[in-house]
């Protein structure tokens, strides 16, 4: 018995799954995204450094916040992107998912490192210390170490396909473990102020500070998206170049 096979046009999900298709449609996105990011940064930096008032307690040092908070937000957002990509790798074997996960890891590490660095520069004038073993700082540091571990794991594998599947398992284990780490570290020691931009009882930040902060956060997030697309394209090109090299070597042998 032969089934009646009609070739359906693949849905959008399968279409963006094709690395070649991805290269085609993402090409047009890079330049506009870069321009939008640069514009938002220009506006955000102007608002943050000139148009917003200094804090009545912290003075001018409060401006570090406009760099610190977006980086801290991205440190968690990027891990979320990696976790979603890992589900894509394990559940749908999506050929772009492991490329996305791999390209996100170093970006996440850099944003987390910047959050730690800017936080430590901010902590010196306001708390009088570069580093304190406080709950949030410690859990960010641990997140940074997890990123570094994942990058080390990507570099240790030779076969990138297998690396993608195995690292996806580890990324998801990490995603389950990170809330536990966060909770346990908070329980262990706490000094940092609690989250104040988004909290259940409404906003605790004056609009004059909140608007530049949101613009900067959007700018940093767009920066991540732009860099992520560029890195994914680079990774696809690198894999193609590698397979071409292998083919060339095989032809040489034959």
């Amino acid at each position: 018995m032969t089934a009646d096979v009609t070739l359906k046009k693949p849905n959008w999900f399968s279409r963006i799954a094709n690395p070649g298709q991805f290269l085609a449609w993402s090409k047009g996105f890079v330049a506009p995204l870069a321009i939008l990011t640069a514009t938002l940064f220009a506006v955000g930096l102007y608002l943050a450094f000139f148009a917003s008032p200094p804090d009545y307690q912290m003075g001018e040092t409060v401006r570090i916040m406009y760099i610190h908070v977006p980086n801290a937000w991205l440190s968690q957002f990027v891990y979320g992107v990696m976790a979603v990509a890992s589900i894509g790798t394990l559940v749908w074997r999506h050929p772009l998912a492991d490329v996305a996960a791999k390209s996100a890891a170093p970006l996440g590490a850099v944003f987390t490192g910047l959050a730690l660095f800017s936080g430590s520069l901010w902590g010196r004038p306001t708390w009088g210390t570069f580093w304190e073993w406080d709950g949030r700082m410690t859990s960010t540091l641990i997140l940074f170490l997890i990123y570094l571990g994942i990058i080390a794991l990507w570099r240790a594998f030779e076969d990138q396909g297998r690396a993608g599947r195995v690292i996806a398992v580890f990324t998801l284990v990490g995603a389950l473990d990170i809330p536990v780490v966060k909770f346990s570290v908070d329980w262990w020691n706490t000094l940092h102020q609690p989250a104040s931009v988004l909290s259940m009882s409404g906003e605790h930040v004056a609009p004059a500070i909140l608007i530049p902060l949101l613009v900067m956060t959007l700018a940093f997030t767009l920066l991540f998206i732009t860099l992520h697309i560029v890195r994914m394209r680079t990774e696809i090109f690198r894999r193609r170049a590698e397979s071409l090299e292998r083919q060339a070597a095989a032809n040489l042998m034959a």
């Binding site: 594998f157 599947r165 536990v180 780490v181 570290v185």
Partner: protein
């Protein structure tokens, strides 16, 4: 069930008859404790205050050292391929290996802990609490370590990378493990820490065989 017990028995026989890894691990555990007084001075008041933390760090390091042999030898001699296609699900085999690994690496350390207690001037009550927290915490540590070992099994140079991956994830065990011993808070806080420690251990023990088995299947050629 017979097959499950057979895997445990096999691992125990392999480890005790050849090589004597378990004894070397105990030796390492005690040595870490011996080295500490040289680094921070022999003052017994300081030592006894730091002792629970030192014991936990020594246990952490020696258990991470032992991770590599969890699946490495099985991968090299082909038993892992047999396990992947055995009638017993791979998850159950991994669970059996977790139990065997705990018996081989964690239990000897707990048995050897009185030596460290004497060397580090711990009193009996502190030692009791340390043993209790080690008993509750090490299963979770072994379970997390199993995931690390499974993820790195196909790497030729996986020996160092599994501890690097697992250390940050196992910090909650260390926090609640030492929190449970913390002197000065006799009831409230140390009790809560013990309960959290048990909860973390139980949840990791349940989830780890599935995650590790998935990683083992996916890392097949």
């Amino acid at each position: 069930m017979t097959a499950f017990l057979a895997v445990i028995g096999r691992d125990l026989r392999l480890a005790t008859r050849v090589g004597g890894d378990a004894l070397t691990l105990v030796l390492f555990f005690v040595m870490v404790g011996v080295i500490v007084p040289f680094a921070i001075g022999p003052d017994s008041a300081t030592l006894s205050r730091l002792a629970p933390g030192i014991v936990w760090i020594a246990a952490f390091l020696s258990m991470l050292l032992g991770l590599d042999r969890l699946f490495r030898a099985d991968d090299e001699d082909g038993s892992l391929t047999l396990f992947r296609h055995a009638a017993l699900p791979l998850e159950a085999i991994v669970a059996a290996k977790v139990i065997a690994h705990w018996l081989l690496t964690a239990l000897p350390l707990i048995v050897a802990s009185p030596i460290l207690a004497v060397l580090l001037a711990m009193d009996f009550a502190a030692w009791e609490k340390t043993v209790l927290s080690l008993l509750l915490g090490t299963p979770g540590l072994v379970a997390l370590g199993t995931i690390g070992a499974a993820v790195t099994v196909s790497l030729r140079r996986g020996g160092l990378i599994a501890p690097v991956l697992i250390l940050p994830l196992s910090i909650p065990i260390l926090i609640f493990g030492t929190g449970a011993i913390a002197a000065g808070n006799p009831d409230g806080i140390s009790n809560a820490a013990l309960l959290f420690l048990s909860a973390i251990s139980l949840v990791t023990l349940v989830l780890a065989p599935f995650a590790a088995a998935l990683a083992l299947r996916l890392s097949e050629d």
